[in-house]
């Protein structure tokens, strides 16, 4: 997503559908990463991703509550206005690795969270609606809090070197 992309969201309803899609995709993505880390017995990182999934779930819940009494438009999956190939907070899958360290996991999470924040910031910058701007800025604030929290976690982690796999991949079929 380049800085030149202009995201122009017109109404609160349209904004909330975007936010909902973004946050839901975010927790599903973290859950998926947590699941696959569990499957591959990288439990430490799995736990980390599960924690992130739960934060996103709370966030999505909040968006749902805000949208509770509104008549939301239906947006087809490929017509969302973010200018990236996926939802902003659920990308970068191919950086994952079953042996990855917590530090690497944080790197992925930060990348996603910052993209989420940037999306909300762009909405705030470009929306013609004051109500949308206000809402978007609230979301930016929350995302900033996330980003800060992740940075703190990251700082507390040692930059481990990827370890050697003593049990190399085995394939089931």
């Amino acid at each position: 997503m380049s800085k030149d992309d202009i995201v122009r969201i017109e109404s609160v309803e349209e904004f909330l559908v975007h936010a909902m899609e973004l946050e839901e995709a975010s927790y599903e993505h973290y859950d998926e990463l947590a699941d696959t880390m569990e499957v591959h017995n990288n439990l430490q990182v799995a736990e980390l991703f599960r924690k992130l999934a739960n934060y996103s779930r709370l966030h999505a819940e909040e968006v749902h509550q805000r949208a509770a009494n509104l008549d939301l438009p239906k947006i087809t999956p490929w017509d969302f206005k973010w200018k990236c190939p996926s939802t902003p907070e659920a990308f970068c899958m191919d950086e994952a690795d079953y042996m990855m360290s917590s530090a690497k996991a944080m790197e992925i999470a930060l990348f996603n969270e910052i993209r989420g924040r940037d999306f909300y910031q762009q909405v705030a910058d470009n929306s013609p609606s004051e109500a949308v701007k206000k809402l978007a800025l609230e979301m930016v604030e929350e995302e900033n809090w996330h980003v800060e929290m992740l940075r703190e976690w990251q700082a507390s982690m040692q930059d481990e070197q990827p370890q050697e796999d003593l049990d190399p991949p085995n394939m089931p079929e």
Binding site: E32, P85, M93, D97
Partner: protein, 275 residues
Amino acid sequence: MTVPALKAKDYKSGIKAVWCPGCGHFAVLSALTKAMAHLGLVKEQVAVVSGIGCSSRLPAYIDTYGFHGIHGRALAAASGLKAARPDLTVIVAGGDGDGFSIGGNHFLHACRRNMNMAYIVMDNEVYGMTKGQASPTTLPDWSNSKMTPHGTGIPSFNPAAIALAAGAGFIARGYSGEPSELTRLLVEAIEHPGFAFLQVLSGCVTYRPDQKQWKEEVHSADSDLPTDDPVKAAQMIQAGDGKATGIIYAKRFPVWQPENRTDAEINEIEKEFLL
């Protein structure tokens, strides 16, 4: 009573995938469930059929009817199912080895038979499940497999060209790194009346880490595509780099489906044997 619309995650079975973290197939799974939700498919009216390989594990992760068959034969099983049960939405999924090598013959004939189904090939140019051997779409000089230490030395298979030559009426290419676009392509493929072939570039993080480069290489197909002109489609496919995403070719041909007439009883039929 109106049934509340299903969301993408309602189409997931909840079974944890065995795919490696970072595998492109996660994005295909996610895009497929989004496409199904978008189309509002009734879950029990859908059957996802596959063969063997990493990608062929897909049916277990989707909450519909599923058939995880044997290596290379997904299209055959799906064709039988569709012939017998035309009311079902049949989606076939598999990998490049399953579809283009051991199942190559079925691929050709499914293209020309033109039954109404979508065929998704998650192409990572490698056999992942058997630990990284060259597949039909692997470039000839890829020498990272112990089984072909000098590379295969034979040109790679061009799925779109072969689908076109075999008579497919819908040929598209997607990329797991562009799930929104992929969702659109899946919707189009499922809705296409006839056999719809969708090649998805879906990288293997474990055996083909070089495919992370695809992010830089994949690009949108020319804006004048899709075409319904097979000659133009052939030119585009042959001139292309194999990394252009979008619908390349879309043309409606008669869909093959057995006609089921019921106007006879068995004892009537048996009368032909009387003297």
